[in-house]
Amino acid sequence: MIRRLLPLFIFLLLLGFLFQSLYNKDTELPSPLIGKPIPAFNLKNLITEEEHSSHEIIGEVSLINVWATWCVGCEMEHEFLVDLSQDKRIDLPIIGLNWKDDDRLAKLWLKQLGDPYSIVLKDPKGKAAIDFGVYGAPETFLVDSSGIIHFKHIGPLNREIFERDILPLIGELN
């Protein structure tokens, strides 16, 4: 009898999980890293080939933007990033994390479309991106002066999202 009831129990268990999952309203994957310091890394600068550790790049409230030339969403958000970097009212350095990309293509891209980044680090094998929990470019993280992650946005960034989700946080952090 017990053996014959086993499938039913497994099924009920599964059903419970599925039921619960329906009521998990936030279908956006929040990063488990929120409220935690950025993962440690050593990455080369795309332009100068100098190596930087994660400690060196923090120090002020900044954005970390994961991008690649092969990513369509990155192209969509790029203009906004350039605007943002030139906006005198908002002092917000953008750190680029060039993900699984070809150096030559990445440099060309920045030359053609403009370079909004204060520094671009490259992660050709995607190792640092794994620590960041990146699962698709573009992704953008808001980091405070001590390197704690406060917000993560998945997908192309635009002014509306920036002003709604990120700008108020910057005010609090400064």
């Binding site: 099924f11 599964l14 999980f17 279908t27 030339t69 891209w109």
Partner: protein, 634 residues
């Protein structure tokens, strides 16, 4: 007027589904002949009503009737004719209507099954259960997902069909897959009705042909989906372990297991409980698949519609149908006949293989719902990716493939004598060929050798009955389908192994007249241009492929921007023959006349789809022969 008429027929179908169920449980008459006559008629009426519904919805699409919400959200005037028809099942509401239509067609066909008429109790109960399933889903449609809902005031133009779906393979992929999913309702209903009535293994004989037929559709649907993903999603992959793909793979594993388990149950009268359980789980996983796709609980490239209310409703249906089937199973299932199983008899080996198949389904299920479970236990959100699946699936599959070959040589009932003597020459041949193969293609890894060996082993053991019987195949129902099934599987495994091990992917930036080399092939970009499609604007590249200075072919990969969506779609340029695919996708304009290009060399890729075609052929032959055989028995 058309949508209102559709509504009427939808309600008529709902009512007849309910009557089909009530009639089956003997509410109107206790006499079997009366019930059967009633059910036959009501089944036909239900199918007829749903056909009309579907026809009316199609008409609304062809007339660009944007006063119908569903039409306005999934079509527009610029959509080409064929895609207006495909758009009927391009969205949530229409695909559910297709789901119940297919269910009613299966039900209708089952009611025409002549062999089943010899077991009236089984027949009545299974048709009655199918009526209840149909009723549940029709209620779901009317309550949450009515395709005939009006949109007033109606817009002048519709939103258009998701460009990803505007593709010939996608026109037939969903109906094929649905036919497979829904077809599993037939063995399910037969298994449950057997538990409720005669409670013996007689149902296995009736369920076999139906199981094979739905398996054929499932195989076709999955293969088509993979084919579509390969050339449409743009990056040259052919399987992504996407939750929705997994949702179709799990029932496939179980349907395959069921197909084989039914052979034993029919022939020897054993494993009846296991077959019953497989029939129940296979259909439950189809329902689970429907739930995963339609509720949006999992993030996927496929999640079109997400609405918690709909999810809840489907979950309710799943809970009701599978739950009650499992309860009936636990109460009614009789203890298996105690019989000594010889470990190397065919039935033992088939049982072993079925356990491997169930394990595969289980591992895929765990990977698919694991993120949900973690999230619920508040352990954070994660996504389980291809590395997990590619790794764990090896554990059941390596022994499975080996034991498939052994099973072919085994005998029923007894430990097969000289089994080692029989299989060792073939193992040796397969190993030698495997070494020769890895020698030609170059050594890659032990895993590659194992994969190639197992593929060749499966193919050779599949062919072996031909040699054993000195090239004359007796007309037994099972042997030719078995051979084709196994050969097809081996061919597919060969394709998977070789493509994954020896494929080359290369991203490059190219200027006009510049050449890029991948493997033995040179790709030369000769032109970049623009062209207008019926409802899109395309940027195309012209790429000349050559090998050792010899011209091979020119391909034209494109990047399309559809009128209705700003998201560009990739149409890859593919040059293919039996031995390799060359795959080119256009990337971005990176300025200075330079374009990024995604180039791939994929050896033996086609086998991944040729294999399933052979398997399907085997299945179809089985359906055809099986039908003739059961009719002769009458």
């Amino acid at each position: 007027m058309i949508p209102e008429l559709g509504q009427v027929f939808l309600v008529a179908a709902l009512a007849s589904a309910l009557l089909q169920f009530l009639g089956g449980i003997g509410l109107f008459s206790r006499k079997n002949e009366n019930i059967e006559a009633f059910i036959e008629r009501i089944t036909m009426f239900q199918t007829f009503s749903l056909l009309i519904c579907f026809g009316l919805l199609t008409t609304a699409f062809l007339q660009d009737d944007f006063s119908v919400l569903y039409v306005a959200s999934n079509s527009n005037t610029a959509l080409p004719f064929a895609y207006k028809i495909a758009a009927v099942w391009g969205g949530h509401e229409g695909s559910l209507l297709l789901w119940v239509l297919i269910l009613s067609i299966w039900t209708f066909l089952l009611s025409k099954d002549r062999a089943l008429k010899s077991s009236p109790d089984l027949r009545i109960q299974s048709l009655s259960i199918l009526g209840l399933i149909s009723f549940g889903f029709l209620l779901f449609i009317l309550y949450t997902s009515n395709p005939f809902e009006r949109l007033l005031p109606s817009p002048i133009q519709g939103r258009g069909l998701n460009p990803l779906l505007q593709d010939p393979a996608l026109v037939i992929h969903p109906p094929t897959l649905y036919a497979g999913y829904v077809g599993l309702a037939v063995p399910f209903s037969l298994a449950v009705s057997s538990l409720l009535t005669v409670n013996n293994h007689q149902w296995a004989m009736h369920a076999r042909t139906w199981t094979v037929l739905s398996w054929v559709f499932l195989t076709g649907g999955i293969a088509l989906g993979s084919w579509w993903a390969y050339y449409e999603l743009g990056w040259g992959g052919w399987w992504f372990w996407d939750p929705v793909e997994n949702a179709s793979l799990m029932p496939w594993f179980l349907a395959t297991a069921l197909m084989h388990s039914l052979i034993v149950t029919e022939k020897r009268g054993i494993f009846n409980g296991f077959s019953t359980l497989l029939a129940i789980t296979a259909f439950s996983l189809s329902l689970l698949g429907t739930f995963l796709v339609r509720s949006g609980v999992l993030i996927s490239v496929h999640s079109f519609a997400s609405d918690p209310q709909r999810g809840l409703f489907i979950l309710g249906l799943l809970a009701f149908f599978s739950g009650s089937a499992l309860i009936i199973y636990s109460i009614k299932q009789k203890k298996n006949k105690q019989e000594k199983l010889h470990p190397l008899s065919r039935e033992s080996l088939l049982l072993l293989n079925n356990v491997f198949l169930c394990a595969s389904a289980g591992l895929v299920l765990i990977g698919t719902v694991y993120p949900l479970i973690l999230e619920m236990l508040d352990l954070g959100k994660i996504s389980v990716g291809p590395p997990y699946f590619n790794f764990v699936i090896l554990f059941p599959f390596i022994p499975l493939l080996f034991s498939i070959g052994v099973a072919v040589f085994s005998n029923w009932s007894n430990d097969s004598k000289n089994l080692i003597n029989k299989v060792s020459p073939i193992i040796l041949i397969a190993l030698m060929l495997g070494f020769a193969f890895t020698f030609i293609y170059g050594w890659d890894s032990l895993l590659t050798l194992i994969g190639v060996f197992l593929a060749l082993w499966t193919i050779l053991t599949g062919i072996s009955p031909l040699i054993k019987n000195r090239y004359s195949i007796n007309k037994s129902t099972n042997i030719i389908p078995m051979m084709l099934g196994h050969i097809g599987l081996g061919i597919m495994i060969l394709g998977i192994t070789v493509t994954s091990s020896y494929g080359i992917t290369f991203d490059d930036s190219m200027n006009i007249e510049q050449t890029s080399t991948v493997g033995d092939y040179e790709f030369k970009l000769t032109e970049i241009g623009k062209r207008n499609g019926p409802n899109y604007l395309a940027q195309y590249a012209s790429i000349e492929i050559s090998k050792d200075g010899q011209y091979v072919e020119t391909v034209y990969p494109e990047k399309r921007v559809y009128d209705t969506s700003s998201m560009p779609m990739t149409e890859a340029g593919i040059e293919a023959n039996l031995f390799r695919d060359l795959f080119i996708a256009v990337g971005e304009d990176i300025g200075g006349g330079s374009w990024s290009m995604h180039l791939q060399y994929k050896p033996l890729l086609r086998l991944i789809w040729y294999g399933p075609i052979i398997m399907i052929l085997g299945g179809l032959i089985r359906v055809f022969l099986g039908k003739k055989q059961t009719e002769r028995h009458q």
